[in-house]
């Protein structure tokens, strides 16, 4: 009786896990099936073909979009880590006039809905002549309030004596941040790095607004426009293939660094 209950329990749990995983599997299978067989509720395709992929590569510059996404996401992540740790360090370890004011402004801006700044930010990009450049995709994201707060919190746990000792050894402030604090803050750097990279990799609203030139589009934007535009010629397999390409890099990263992904995402909830 007890073991029967246990079997039923694991069966239910497995079915619910399948509900979350199977659609992705279905998508992959659909992308390598002939057009007529897509959509079947199946675990193994009857025949495999890569024609959807080759057609997709002909229709959209997905390789270029992948490189654009890498450039944009990496630049933003590096910027957020460098600037976030500089600002977080000043706010946690240095004493200066206006420090608390800046801290409260940061907290306040975190509650500001983006819906209010969307239109004027676009106009700024137009006035700067940044439409259809990497600058529009990268610069507004280089400084991020949440990452500053997270660095500030983490640096507070590092003893002042370590910083004082390095100062006596002749380190300047930048050396203290990048040579002394960084090696001692790897958990914070990994967390902020993953959150930032994921958010910028998946960002789609802002690119849709500031990029019109197809050769500069990031992957989510290109795939979105491919999906809603007419160029897929209502061929489902081709659409699915582009969706697989968009999901693949982050899923691969997730498979290798699952633990870090989950820990990082869990800590985003702590900002409230």
């Amino acid at each position: 009786m007890k073991s029967l209950r246990k079997i039923l329990f694991y069966l239910a749990l497995t079915i619910s896990a399948l509900i979350f995983v199977y659609p992705f599997y279905w998508m992959v299978i659909g992308s390598v099936s002939p057009e007529s067989e897509i959509g079947n509720l199946t675990f193994f395709p009857d025949s495999l073909t890569l024609s959807s992929y080759s057609q997709m590569f002909d229709k959209i510059p997905i390789g270029g979009a992948f490189i654009n996404s890498i450039i944009v996401s990496l630049s933003i992540t590096i910027g957020v880590l460098v600037f976030g740790s500089m600002i977080g360090y000043a706010l946690s370890k240095l004493v200066f006039k206006g420090r608390d004011l800046i801290f409260y402004i940061i907290i306040f801006t975190m509650t500001l809905p983006f819906q209010i700044t969307l239109i004027p930010q676009y106009i700024i990009m137009v006035k700067f002549g940044w439409i259809d450049t990497y600058l529009a995709l990268i610069v507004p994201y280089l400084v991020n309030a949440l990452s500053i707060i997270m660095f500030r919190q983490y640096f507070k746990t590092i003893p002042d004596s370590l910083i004082d000792a390095s100062r006596i050894d002749g380190c300047n402030e930048l050396q203290i941040i990048f040579r002394i604090l960084w090696p001692n803050s790897l958990p914070a750097i990994v967390t902020i790095g993953i959150i930032t990279f994921m958010a910028s990799w998946n960002e789609v609203l802002w690119p849709l607004i500031v990029i019109r030139d197809e050769s500069l589009m990031t992957m989510p934007q290109l795939v979105t426009l491919f999906s809603v535009g007419g160029r897929a010629d209502s061929q489902l397999g081709v659409k699915l293939a582009s969706a697989v390409m968009l999901a693949l890099p982050i899923v691969l990263a997730y498979l290798f660094f699952q633990k870090y992904f989950i820990q990082s995402m869990a800590s985003t909830g702590l900002k409230e």
Binding site: Y10, G30, T109, L112, F114, L118, I262
Partner: protein
């Protein structure tokens, strides 16, 4: 040397100050100015007084888009909290392959909303979609997931729950692990049932997590955009136009910059009002 030491902190925070002036405070001020103007970016700005505000209050589609967003929230948030809490409670027990199950539920969280929307657009397809195939296979009628105006928004809310629930499972797991084991042991001694323990101990103890999930998913829900953009384009009969999608269309489809800024400002006030009410409610309950 002393001067350098004094300036250094300001140099370090200067990126934030530049960012704040350029991308936060200037846009907010400029957006307020814009609300009193008509502007398509190309021709000069034209002062129109309160015309944008008057237009807003008679704009049925905008209020429908806010209503749609609220429908989304009202379905999405309770569903999300209940499912996440239920699965977290199960994962918190001593089960085999816990890491695998946790990883499975979390998978949709990391994948782009674009992928999830494209995927579910197919799953929700009326004739060949997986959902209707399953329904017909067990002898039920097909559902017009995305083509029935009454059902389309709930369908999107259901999909968003599927996408995000993994994140909230993790947050609840963190919360559940803060509940002292002694409480359960004491309850066991008094012969409490599983449900009694859940409602009398677990639920009150993880109240802070529930409120955190409430606020996070409210903010997320108010940003609803890419899902209707890809899956329905706002249809059928405008039943899935979200507020952000409507603002986007006004701004970047019609180039009504002044009007779109007015909508953005008004909507931001609604968001802040809802969140302040939630926070007040939370403080009262703690």
């Amino acid at each position: 040397m002393i001067n350098r030491k004094k300036i250094m902190p300001y140099l370090l925070v200067s990126p934030y100050i530049v960012h704040f002036l350029l991308f936060v405070s200037f846009p907010v001020i400029f957006s307020i100015i814009l609300t009193f103007h008509k502007w398509n970016i190309i021709s000069p700005m034209e002062y129109t007084g309160t015309a944008n505000y008057i237009k807003l209050f008679s704009d049925k589609t905008f209020f429908k888009s806010i209503g749609n967003t609220l429908i989304f929230l009202v379905i999405h948030i309770p569903l999300q909290i209940i499912i996440a809490l239920f699965l977290a409670e199960i994962l918190n027990q001593n089960i085999k392959m816990r890491r695998f199950f946790r990883g499975a539920f979390f998978l949709p969280v990391i994948v782009s909303g674009v992928v999830v929307s494209m995927l579910w657009q197919q799953l929700y397809g009326f004739d060949t979609g997986l959902m209707n195939r399953v329904l017909t296979a067990v002898g039920l009628d097909k559902v017009g997931w995305l083509i029935d105006p009454k059902i389309a928004m709930p369908s999107i809310a259901l999909m968003a729950t599927w996408k995000n629930v993994g994140l909230y499972i993790i947050l609840f797991l963190v919360g559940l692990q803060t509940v002292p084991v002694q409480y359960y042991e004491a309850a066991d001694l008094e012969g409490a049932s599983h449900w009694q323990k859940f409602f009398r101990i677990t639920l009150p103890m993880i109240n802070p997590t529930i409120f955190m999930v409430l606020i996070l998913s409210t903010i997320g829900g108010f940003s609803l955009f890419i899902e209707p953009y890809i899956m329905t384009g706002g249809g059928p009969l405008n039943s899935t136009v979200s507020a952000v999608l409507y603002i986007y269309k006004q701004g970047f489809f019609y180039y009504h910059m002044g009007y779109a800024a007015t909508l953005g400002l008004f909507f931001a006030f609604i968001i802040l009002a809802v969140i302040i009410i939630q926070k007040k409610f939370i403080e009262k309950n703690n």
